[in-house]
Symmetry: C2
Subunit: 107 residues, 2 copies
């Protein structure tokens, strides 16, 4: 998979999953990996950024299967960001596709 394509997009994916339910990091990797390859070395720094920017808050919860889990929950600001980023992503892919298709049609 082209790593470059993911730049900026994984952030929307994380926000989008969190808009559905609170998750811990390891769980997010599992959920997103159903569609897109993502590694732990990517998710944890990303989650830290989202917290630093105020888009998520965290809380710890114990687990019977291993060490305690750090859950992430969207803030209002995070919900707004999720919405805006998603709109921007849609605009962007529409623009790209019109460029690609436009040139396909002309071949």
């Amino acid at each position: 998979m082209n790593i470059q394509f993911k730049k900026g997009v994984l952030e929307i994916c994380v926000l989008s999953v969190l808009a559905h339910k609170d998750c811990y990091g390891y769980e997010l990797v599992y959920e997103i990996s159903k569609q897109i390859d993502i590694s732990e070395g990517t998710i944890y720094p990303l989650l830290r950024r989202l917290k630093d920017e105020g888009f998520v808050t965290t809380y710890l919860q114990e687990s019977v299967e291993g060490p305690p889990r750090k859950y992430y929950r969207l803030t209002d600001s995070g919900r707004k960001e999720e919405h805006e980023l998603k709109e921007e992503w849609m605009r962007f892919t529409t623009a790209v596709n019109s460029l690609l298709v436009g040139n396909d049609a002309a071949e």
Copy 2:
């Protein structure tokens, strides 16, 4: 516009425009800018990479409006790359959208 989204995508855009017609760098900026912001500091290094990788060849042509233009033409390898990258881009956006829509539906 989110700069990160463009990572890797501008390369397909350039290849796709070149699949339609030979272009010089300045012209590519103009064509792609109709849909996506792109600057000259991006296009020239990108074109050099594409040439180093054997996806394009170049030829000079004089202009009455300024300095000579360096035209870029797709090679067979470049045409193949354009096709493969486009397919990968389609697969990627489908995967992302299914993640985003999936969570929209669950809200």
